[in-house]
Amino acid sequence: MTGADPAPQVAGAAGAPGTAPAVPTRRGTELVMLAFAVVITLAAQCVVDITVTGSLRPELAAFGGWFTALWAVMHVVVRRFAPYADPLLLPAVALLSGLGLTMIHRLDLAGEQVGATATREDAPVQLVWATLGVGLFVAVLLVIRDHRLLSRFAYTLALVGLLLLALPAVLPASISSVNGAKIWIRLAGFSIQPGEFAKICLIVFFAAYLVDKRDVLALASRRVMGLELPRGRDLGPVVVAWLLSILVLVFERDLGSSLLLFGIFVVMLYVATERASWLVIGVGLFGAGAFLAYQLFGHVQVRVDTWLDPFAYRDEGGYQMVQSLLGLGTGGLFGAGLGGGRPDQVPVAKSDFIAAAIGEELGLFGLVAVIIVYLVLVERGLRSSLIVRDAFGKLLAAGLAFAVAWQVFVVLGGVTGLLPLTGLTTPFVAYGGSSLVANFALLAILVRISDAARRPAAPPVQPGPPQRAMLGEAPTEVVRP
């Protein structure tokens, strides 16, 4: 048996100098898929215009050119600065955002149709936000040439994230409150949801922190019913994260962000430590928190009650939910066709309930297709996480990909009645500038990590210990000259 299979070892060994096989960059695949997504978007735009107004709008050419240019720029930048990036990330997002823009335009038209006064054209605004998002994407790719750079700013980002998260809570309600949730900053006609950016900052921090502390957190003190429980004093971080999400819930009345942040943290903790006990503790803490919140806060009770039986509250709190379900049901298997339904019957269809609009007009097939595209995006992100070599990159990619998955699950689950409603947005699709721009930044980091994951390992430039996370052992000052 000896010496029978040396080949796999060689192939598997990273960093065989000079002999690394040429890894295909797959940029051509990405280009074809992007073209596919752009063509689908433009076709959908034509269908909407013709169905609703009978003719193509004059601005359609400009929109088409602009939208195509955005993805061309993204593609070129990726080709140049992240050539080994996963080829499916960009096309998936292109399709989602194109579909989102189309649905928003379609709902704009519906608003004009019923002769509502002072209808705002939201689709062009969303296109501007998308352009800003692409700008941020390019900036992130250009500035952060190595994702490990991010770990150096972990504590700074944590501080920024917490500030962003806390800002709406301390601002007066006139600036920060929309429909009861204090998660906005509204200035000079623009509204931003700082929580969307806070999410990314905190994920970076979680990744850096957990990589640093994972050995300690993985220490078990005793086994209880087959679970290896961590030591009592190591419970600190998870309790802090839990308190944080409770605070968000209490002061910002934002069920969604609270659930989102805590879920992401627990999953990252689990991935870092490989201890299922953290999941159990997390779920337990969440359950306790949810129960307390239900007992203490009226708005949480209303949410849960309307979730359990929206039709009983159809004229009050359940109206939106009922309209969403009626739209989905009317859409049926194939949907009413783009422009053929009445998705404007659902209040705030452009943002929170855009999935209901998609389900009504594109039917079950359309909505499931959207869910599958999200699944592709998330699983490609997790795949990058699997194959990237450094622990920080692994954890960061996992956190970001899971954040998208968790957010999609919570939002779509809410809109379709699987979960109580939360105020989260549907990533890349829903109307909302902060969400879109922030998610483009998230995408940039994922692209960066996937590039590192698939890039053939360079011969070690500096021999020596691998650059592992430097947080604990070395304060950030060390790297500064």
Binding site: V114, G115, V267, Y270, V271, A272, E274, R314, V322, L325, L326, G327, L328, G329, T330, G331, G332, L333, A336, G341, R342, Q345, G359, E360, G363, L364, L367, V368, I371, I372, Y374, L375, V378, E379, L382, R383, S385, L386, A391, K394, L395, A398, F402, A405, V408, F409, L412, G413, T416, G417, L418
Partner: protein
Amino acid sequence: MNAPLRRVAISVLVLFTLLIVNVNYIQVVRSEELRADPGNRRVIYEEYDRQRGSIVVDGTEIALSVETDDDLTYLRQYPQGPLYAAVTGYYSVRYGARGIERTENDVLTGDDARLFTQRLSDLFTGRDPSGGDVVLTLDAATQQAAMAGLEGVTGAVVALEPSTGAILALASTPTFDPNLLSSHDAQGVADYAAGLEAADPDPRLNRAISDNYPPGSVFKVIVSAAALSSGEYTPDTVIPAPDLLTLPGTSTTLENFNGSRCDPSGEQPLIDALTISCNTAFALLGIELGEDRVREMAEAFGMDGEGLDIPMGTVGSSVGDIESDAALGQSSIGQRDVRMTPLQAAMVAAGVANDGTLMRPYLVDQLRAPDLTVIEQADPDELSEPVSPEVADQLTEMMVSVVAEGSGRAARIPGIDVAGKTGTAQVAPDVPDHNWFIGFAPADDPQIAVAVFVANGGGTGGDVSAPIARRVMEAYLEGGGG
């Protein structure tokens, strides 16, 4: 960290599968239920997005859809709303459709299978799809005369073309304005509906077809028909006509209208008994004929069955249970449990008028595609042959006598022989009688058969209902109808 990562990847797959399963549940399993939910305005919007076809009488649209600026693209309008309300019904966002609007909905919306090729060509030519038209058999002048005649009273008029069964007029009062139920002003519609709900007598009740009433002496035409058909009687057969009749096996007495005397001799020819509407004579005649013959004749004229669809559903008319000769006597003069709709009463007149052949009454003459091609033309259909042509002639002779010199003189039209029969039905003590008249004209070549019903008119069929019938028949004959 790869082992937990894989588990996370699988968990995501599971979560998304949950989403997909749930979406399937909502969009497939619960789809029908959600689509039909009363709170789902999408179905209504879809319906109002298409131009609904018109309902046409004599080339004039009596119901049409016009484009609006509001949320619902098309508004249903009834230019002469109250006049035709008993036929058109209404088309309401809140209360749905009634009348022809309901029964012919598929054609009016364009969903009817016969309009399929039209829809297909609309699809390819890019024309906005629209519904087909429904052309009614009504005659505008006759309908107007019927409604004018019923002004101020509660009642109904049904006029038929005897040779085809085509309905020339169908009116019921008090009426309502379908425009106010079909409006897009939800509050206005609700207020108007509440007013109708509270009104007494109920304007929503279609008295011509949706309720039945004791016909009184109108039923004597059927008893006469049974007698003549038996072969044992002619119009000149002398039958007993006492002043007072004690019903067999009881101490109940039956007298003539206002206690009057039919004939000093206590007997009279059948034709005279009908002419003056002698109660005792017909009670005895019915008893003499027996329940079977009377009931069979009533059934041959359409009673005792399910109501016909004209196409609106109608309630049936009935002779009722007859458990004794006493009951038979009372039933033979159209009292006790005998009930007729005004439509049924008109059918009795029409059957006699059409040489004893009763045609199935119908309201829809043509269905037309939006391009005016006829997709269906009514085909007159024989319902039954209650009496032979000979008996029909004898009945006509007797009914002409009623109008010429009997209780129906108020229906006389100068220069034209009119056949008819009055009816004054007791409802309850201290409640005014119902007043009926059925008839047809001209007697030798009947063009129109009519039934007039005035609820609790308080007079007799002769002085309350006969003039209305005359007005209706005149309007049709002067208009050159037929």
